[in-house]
């Protein structure tokens, strides 16, 4: 019984690991191919099955005028939009979460939980529902096809996540902490800034990582709200997915764009293993 269980367990883990890794291996292999080795028959291993070439990687930094793809600028755009929107969302979301966790709000039938739900419920809206009015809204105020416009939209995407994680986290930070600080003569802002915040670093890191993940992986808003002036990474990569797809540069650019966040997986794992995350994610 227990031997069978162990066998099944390792079988399942191995199966899932292969499933997770397979598309990456395929992309790595494809990125070194050329037209011939993609279109003649299915090939897998460089040198053995096909002659590898660096062409797929080289076009990534060439300018479009020379037939390249140039993902350098979209790369920096994506980093800028993701980081700015995450930062703003974290600051505003943390303040709001602290208020919702520590104080009682009453206005008509609205209570703390309803306000929290209002924040989190923004995630229910599918991007398409928002993107049509945002399109008109941003073109009215002249922010269509601009980095700033995207930051504004991404705040709506990310603040709910920050509030969700931080409310849970603050609920676990003992109230006595702020109370002691207040008795010691701090005003509420000092209590928050000097006492509560330093004790909330794990929560802030988790919230930050989630904001960065969900900002970085968004495609649809960037797709609808930008055209030529500003391009974000996912839009640029998907644009390669045309009728005659250059699989090699597509794979190379895909790998380059997903690489930075894979580091996040290691950070998350570290926090999990140290037990810090369990408090931050309920």
């Amino acid at each position: 019984m227990s031997k069978l269980y162990t066998f099944l367990k390792y079988f399942f883990i191995t199966f899932w690991t292969v499933f997770v890794v397979a598309p990456f291996l395929w992309a790595v292999s494809t990125s070194f191919k050329d037209f011939q080795s993609v279109n003649s028959k299915v090939t897998y291993i460089p040198w053995l099955d096909f002659e590898p070439t660096l062409e797929g990687w080289r076009v990534l930094i060439k300018s479009p005028a020379k037939g390249g793809v140039d993902i350098v600028e979209p790369y920096f755009n994506s980093i800028f939009v993701t980081c700015t929107a995450s930062l703003i969302s974290i600051v505003l979301g943390t303040l709001a979460a602290y208020a919702l966790s520590r104080f009682t709000f009453k206005a008509g039938f609205v209570r703390n939980n309803d306000i929290t739900f209002f924040f989190i419920s923004q995630r229910i809206m599918p991007p398409i529902v928002l993107s049509i009015p945002f399109f008109i809204f941003l073109s009215t105020i002249g922010l269509l096809d601009s980095l700033l416009g995207l930051v504004v939209v991404y705040i709506v995407l990310l603040m709910p996540i920050a509030v969700w994680i931080m409310v849970d986290f603050f609920n676990r930070v003992p109230k006595e902490l702020d109370e002691t600080a207040l008795i010691d003569g701090c005003n509420p802002y000092q209590a928050f800034y000097k006492v509560v915040l330093p004790n909330s670093i794990p929560g802030l890191i988790v919230a930050g990582m989630f904001c960065i993940i969900f900002g970085w992986i968004d495609f649809f808003f960037a797709f609808i709200l930008t055209f030529t002036e500003v391009q974000l990474l996912p839009v640029k990569v998907v644009a390669l997915n045309s009728s005659i797809t250059p699989w090699w540069s597509l794979s190379a650019s895909a790998l380059v764009s997903v690489a930075p966040l894979i580091i996040v997986a290691f950070i998350v794992e570290r926090y999990l293993s140290k037990g810090n995350l369990s408090g931050a994610l309920k």
Binding site: F12, V42, F103, I132, L250, S251
Partner: protein, 288 residues
Amino acid sequence: MNFKHKFVFLFPGLFVLIGILIFPIIFTIRLSLSGWNSYTPEMNFIGITNYIRLFTDDPRFWESFFRLSFLSVTTVILQYVIGFALAMMVWREIKFKRFFRVIFLIPMMTTPVIMTVIWRTFFHESLGPVNDLLGGLGVKPILWLSDPVIAKFTVIIVEVWQWTPFMFLLLLAGLLSLPREPFLAAAIDGASPFRKFVYVTFPLMAPISIGAIIIRLIEASKIMDTVFVLTSGGPGTATETSSFYIYIKGLREFQMGYAATLSFTYLVIMIISLTIIAKVLTKLMIKE
């Protein structure tokens, strides 16, 4: 504590969010009462004509909605079962525990739309490795993307690959935060691993499970990127979800007014059904 300070904490975030959203929401409602399309791109008022059209003469929207329900419920159930199993497996000591944890987390860190582009080459019917390897085993080529039934399962496979890690992360974090005492008690009573799971682990994990399932359902109901790149809703309308249908009506056919009607109806249905699902799940999983 003092009364006024609380608003200083809450209001910046609340008002920024409301400030950004108020226009789109009011605009959508107003737009849904207009006949804005590419011939008459103006905010006229046609009453509830659009709503009548939606409820009496648009089976395609309801089909796409049921398809979406099927896709999101199936993927979330699969993600929950697999995510829970994976979390249980790397919860206690096993070899290379940390290595497997990182591996299991990686897909959620990757951009869905970009990975879907890779999946599309992966499932390519003549040049992709899946059919090639299956062909080596003597299986006839499978029409991963062009068969109406199989295409749904291809979408499910990609969604499960992408988002099981999220479930895994929430559930593993939950497992790691469980108190030790109930497990000690069960061990002293000599409970079998199966009974331990049914009577100790699962009930303790119920609140976390509900939270995780609801969050995933919310996110899964927005399936769009995957469908957009993998099948473009096709073949025919076989994988068309509500979002995608709204996209076609609004931004391809430019029936803005009607698309707004669809959006608003969709939102109302989603909020109601998610609330009901949350209530039902809580009843089912937490025994008083």
